[in-house]
Amino acid sequence: MTTWEPVIGLEVHAELATRTKLFCACPTEFGAEPNTLVCPRCLGMPGTLPVLNKQALEFAIRAGLAFDCQIAEHIVFERKNYFYPDLSKGYQISQLSQAVATGGQVNIVTDDGNEKQIHITQIQLEEEAGKSIHGGATIREATFTLEDFNRCGIPLIEIISEPEMHSVEEAKAYLEKLKTVLLYIGVSDCKMEEGSLRCDVNISLREAGSDRLGRRAEIKNLNSFRAVVNVLEYEIQRQTELLNSGGTVARETRTWDEGRGESFSMRSKEEAHDYRFFPEPDLAPVEPGQAWIAEIKATLPELPDIKRRRYVEEYGLPLYDAELISGNREMADFFDKTLQYYKDPKAISNWLMGEVSRLNNQAETGFDKLRFSPQQLGELLAMIDNGQISTKIAKTVLEEMFASGTAPASIVEARGLMQISDQGALETMINSLVDANPGPAEDYRNGRDKALGFFVGQIMKETKGRANPVLVTDLLKEAILGKK
């Protein structure tokens, strides 16, 4: 039987984080009352003219630079003509052959730990359509549709990949990386639950090893990574069964029903795609110029790939730590800043990935909203190294820092948590404990190592966890074995 290999291309739409729409100055806020963020321009009233939002163009260029694209010297908008009720003007202003950015790539780390480049065809700047609410359980069962034009005209970039992904995992890694970079450079909030990031999937199957592309299906408007994964798994199976039974895949647009977990052919009133693109006559072309492009480039932050490599090469972090921390800009910022106050990168990484992440998850908050500072975390870790507190106590102190933002030294002092490293005091305690428990002491002398744990536990109980555990262990061994 033929082995089929998936060929996947993704078109990601990311709404840009501008205050106003692309071609008019209506606000872009999410969640406003329907049809209140509109004006004659975005409602498509006759006689209105578009004027380009400079910030939106800057964001598109910024994204192009972050993905190593070539920024066009001469940028032209195109009119894409089609009728659909969420498109007020009867056309969308988009881009075609003279888009903002072309080429470039997204670097992903595949399951076997290798880096792979997925190339970008182009990044184009275009306007959103309005939002349709179908009067039925699904679009196929709707008897009418309601339209809200608040979203109509919001700027977005469409990032078109080459069909270079060959597994569900690669597609997922591509999407995650794309989102990470967009968040890093601050051009989109990428809130999928608010529709700020959506994805069209193109998928075909070809005989493994063949260069020939099969006929593809396109599934539009997926608004979660989960949906993308589900669609891909479903389509791979659907197309495999079709091809294996001698059938052919129809080249068509399909819609995904997340509830049923199936895709359906779109029997759309939208006529066969014949968009009759032509250069948008109402907009002047754009020539950003090398100076402005260089200025935008200079404001790019250190990007996740570079950060990850730096963490591995300069700090010796394991790839896992480096990938995880660099994949979250706020976490990476906190890591970098803590390093200015504390010199052990792996210890910082452990605490950020462990305790701090745990507290964040519990409180459903993030690294950008922490009440304590990187300096305070550095102070806490230094207190462990200096033997002032144990790791266990440090976790308690961190919880209070997390809740109140109080400096660790103040918490330790106020709550009397300072580690007891006073040898004399500990020896007195240990001696009387060993005298009172001859049984376990004898066990330990007879080679039952576990018996020592009993004594350590008792001392910790007595000191409320403040005794220096290394010192206690040493002193206990001395006390028990010395009394042979």
Partner: protein, 115 residues
């Protein structure tokens, strides 16, 4: 181009794209008119345009921008005043997908090649 040097226009397809219901006699009339227009414009193809940059606009300007500052919006009542149908805060339109329509597969080509 047809054998007579005129463009062949599928007026039925154009009418559908433009959402126009044309009577048969209108189809014939517009077919002739549009083909006349295309034949006229086709004279341009007789010119030698070697080395001429493609022109995408007649505007003698570039880089017309607007700052990212919000303006006043229309009130909803004003925005919806001319709507043929509405429901609550929304414009209301007929259902989008109709039964028995042909699958949407008209984008041409049969490969993954990008558009």
């Amino acid at each position: 181009m047809g054998a007579d040097g005129r463009s062949q226009v599928d007026i039925g397809h154009l009418a559908t794209l433009a959402r126009l219901n044309l009577k048969p006699e209108e189809c014939a009339k517009f077919q002739e008119q549009i083909e006349d227009i295309l034949a006229y414009v086709d004279k341009l193809s007789q010119l030698n345009v070697d080395g001429v940059e493609p022109m995408t606009t007649a505007l003698p300007m570039i880089n017309v921008f607007r700052d990212d500052t919000p303006h006043e919006t229309l009130s909803r009542d004003e925005a919806m005043r001319n709507a043929p149908d509405k429901e609550g805060a929304f414009f209301k339109v007929p259902r989008i997908i109709q039964d028995g329509e042909a699958p949407d597969d008209g984008e041409g080509g049969d490969s993954n090649a990008s558009k």
